[in-house]
């Protein structure tokens, strides 16, 4: 039996099931990161002293990564817009760029982590570093997960475009919503961890 409302909208909601599901999932993600942010605030306000992020972390690297992730959000939405214009090859180009930008983000993060670990700045070293590694580590996992889905849509999953372009476009839109959420989380992580 086919799953209903994958590319046709329900009359009562005006939405496809996939769209509702991705937003419910994002709502749960807000609570996940919200709980970690609340813990961070609790630990920071309870500490006698707290270091400024820029005395320990690399602001230039993080600024570069912020620009990279924002750029990837634009390429992602352009990939979706390309499908709306029935320009599949343009979609491939933008989606490829999104995946590559995600990879650049992870590579920069790898160098950042390596530098800290080399200096013995591991999570057990201080509360600040524990918070930093937990929040950025979880965020990195999300970037990796989003990249995997995007890679599938760029590669084998793109076959759906030939048989059901509307369904494929919906999938790209939903993957995009997750990707933009990952960008949104970083927009808050960057100043709170690196600049304050």
């Amino acid at each position: 039996m086919d799953i209903p409302y994958t590319y046709t909208v329900r009359r009562d909601t005006g939405l496809t099931n996939g769209k509702i599901v991705i937003w419910l999932f994002l709502a749960s993600e807000v609570m996940l990161f919200g709980a970690l942010f609340a813990s961070y605030i609790l630990i920071r306000t309870g500490a006698q002293t707290w270091p400024r992020g820029d005395t320990i972390l690399s602001v230039p690297m993080a600024t570069f990564n912020t620009l990279v992730l924002i750029s990837s959000s634009v390429t992602m939405v352009m990939a979706w817009a390309s499908l709306m214009r029935h320009r599949f090859s343009t979609f491939r180009m933008y989606m490829g760029a999104t995946i590559l930008l995600g990879l650049v983000f992870l590579i920069v993060k790898y160098f950042e982590y390596s530098e800290h670990i080399h200096l013995g700045e591991v999570p057990s070293h201080s509360n600040f570093l524990a918070v930093y590694f937990t929040l950025t580590g979880l965020h990195m996992l999300h970037v990796f997960g989003g990249m995997m889905v995007n890679l599938y849509l760029w590669g084998p999953g793109a076959k759906l475009w030939k048989t059901n372009p509307t369904w494929f476009t919906n999938r790209v839109e939903q993957s995009g919503l997750f990707w933009h959420f990952v960008d949104l989380v970083w927009i808050f992580l960057f100043p709170t961890l690196y600049l304050l």
Binding site: T8, G14, A38, T63, M76, A81, L184, F190, L195, L196
Partner: protein, 111 residues
């Protein structure tokens, strides 16, 4: 609006013009996000007192986040059900954020 696009992916000329208009908005938002990122870093160089620095950083981050949510995630023209889900999320997120604030004020609920 934009969510309807996903359903009507088979586009007409009218749709194509509409998508072009959206693409121009995406580019504008992209430029705004880049500028605001630079502004965030520049402000941090002033070494403002912590409460002011936190407020300014969070205000700029909120503006950037709103741009992403409204335009890239198309929340500016979504269906009512999505808004309802998000309203509920905002309430519970608010409760989560209130917990450390209450704790900061000496845990008055314990007394």
């Amino acid at each position: 609006m934009s969510s309807d696009y996903a359903v009507d992916a088979v586009t007409s000329d009218h749709h194509a013009a509409d998508i072009d208009r959206h693409v121009r908005i995406y580019i504008t938002v992209f430029a705004a996000l880049m500028v605001l990122t630079i502004v965030t870093v520049a402000i941090s160089r002033f070494h403002l007192p912590v409460p002011i620095a936190v407020t300014v950083a969070l205000v700029v981050a909120a503006i950037k986040g709103s741009l992403v949510a409204c335009y890239f995630m198309h929340l500016i023209s979504e269906k009512k059900l999505i808004y309802a889900v998000l309203a509920l999320t905002v309430v519970f997120f608010g409760v989560l954020m209130a917990l450390p604030v209450l704790s900061y004020h000496d845990g008055f609920w314990i007394r």
